[in-house]
């Protein structure tokens, strides 16, 4: 191992034996683990992944006739113009 490489030792509890066996069969264990970590880190800040999940959830909800906007919908909003809303916010 080159001098500037860092190493880490990991231990497996007896109940994680199947994970140990899985990893053991990999040819390049370090490369495999690094790849997993990278994927995980990308997922955390990946907005497109978040958007994809959000879209999937909304699709499932709408397929089941659940409309999220209904909860926060401003009722009779059509009667209040932006001007009215402005007046109300200024004077009340």
């Amino acid at each position: 191992m080159p001098k500037d490489y860092k190493s880490i030792t990991i231990s497996f509890r007896p109940d994680a034996n199947h994970l140990y066996e899985f990893l053991r069969k990999k040819d390049n264990k370090s490369a495999y683990i690094l790849k997993l970590i990278e994927k995980d880190m990308e997922g955390e800040d990946n907005p497109s992944l978040k958007q994809t999940i959000k879209a999937i959830i909304l699709e499932i909800l709408s397929e089941n006739d659940i409309i999220l906007n209904e909860i926060n919908k401003v009722t009779n909003e059509e009667n209040l113009t932006d001007y009215d809303i402005g007046i109300i916010n200024e004077y009340f």
Binding site: N72, V74, T75, N76, E77, N79, L80, D84, I85, G86, I87, I88, N89, Y91, F92
Partner: protein
């Protein structure tokens, strides 16, 4: 959360701040027991709104008109004036011509004329029946006395409004539980006024619309 605020407090900045703090309980947990059920909550956003705004936000035509909302309650009569939706605080006031004043006057009058003690709880029924019935016996001439007393009370209310607010070119709305009780007499005095069908809850419904507008503005 919106909270109806007495006009005397609403028009005074310092009192209003104190009232807000009192209702919010400094954001601490508030504990209520209603019908043996416990409610715990904290108030984050509180809007103090003036009492008696009535149907202002329920009738679209009032958005472009001068309007006066006269809220006849148990203790007070609150009068609110608006141009379009803009409140005129200088023409907004409350006085003590609530239904309790009418009850007291009528009670005294009936006690004097018939020598009977009239209980407070019976007064609403007497006003609705327009007749005093003493132990099953109808006091036929009491109708004129009752009607006269109610009429005088209605006149007092209208005179107190007219003394401070112009009713010309203005939509007049009567709201509050008292307006149901006095409806007949008030209609004789101001035939073109509107009596809100949901008079006891229309201020609450208008508050709801104000909160909707505030919520809407927050989202923009």
């Amino acid at each position: 959360m919106s909270k109806t605020t007495p006009l005397t407090i609403f028009k005074n900045k310092k009192l209003k701040e104190e009232y807000e703090e009192f209702i919010r309980q400094s954001g601490e947990t508030i504990h209520f027991v209603v019908n043996d059920e416990h409610f715990l909550f904290k108030i984050q956003n509180l809007y103090l709104l003036q009492e008696g705004i009535g149907s202002l936000l329920l009738r679209p035509e009032l958005k472009s008109r001068n309007s006066v909302q006269i809220d006849i309650g148990t203790l007070n009569v609150s009068v609110n004036s608006f141009s379009s939706l803009i409140p005129h605080l200088d023409s907004t006031f409350s006085n003590s011509y609530g239904i309790n004043t009418l009850f007291s006057t009528l009670r005294e009058r009936l006690a004097m004329d018939y020598g009977v003690t009239v209980h407070y709880k019976d007064l609403k029924q007497i006003i609705n029946d327009r007749i005093l019935v003493v132990e099953g016996k109808k006091m036929l001439d009491s109708t004129a006395i009752i009607e006269e007393t109610i009429e005088n009370h209605a006149k007092q209310i209208i005179a107190s409004v007219k003394a401070q607010v112009s009713l010309n070119n203005t939509e007049i709305s009567f709201v509050g539980g008292g307006s149901i009780l006095l409806c007949e007499e008030l209609k004789k005095l101001l035939p073109n006024a509107t009596f809100e069908p949901d008079s006891q809850f229309c201020t609450l419904k208008s508050f709801y619309r104000i909160m909707e507008a505030k919520l809407h503005a927050q989202r923009l």
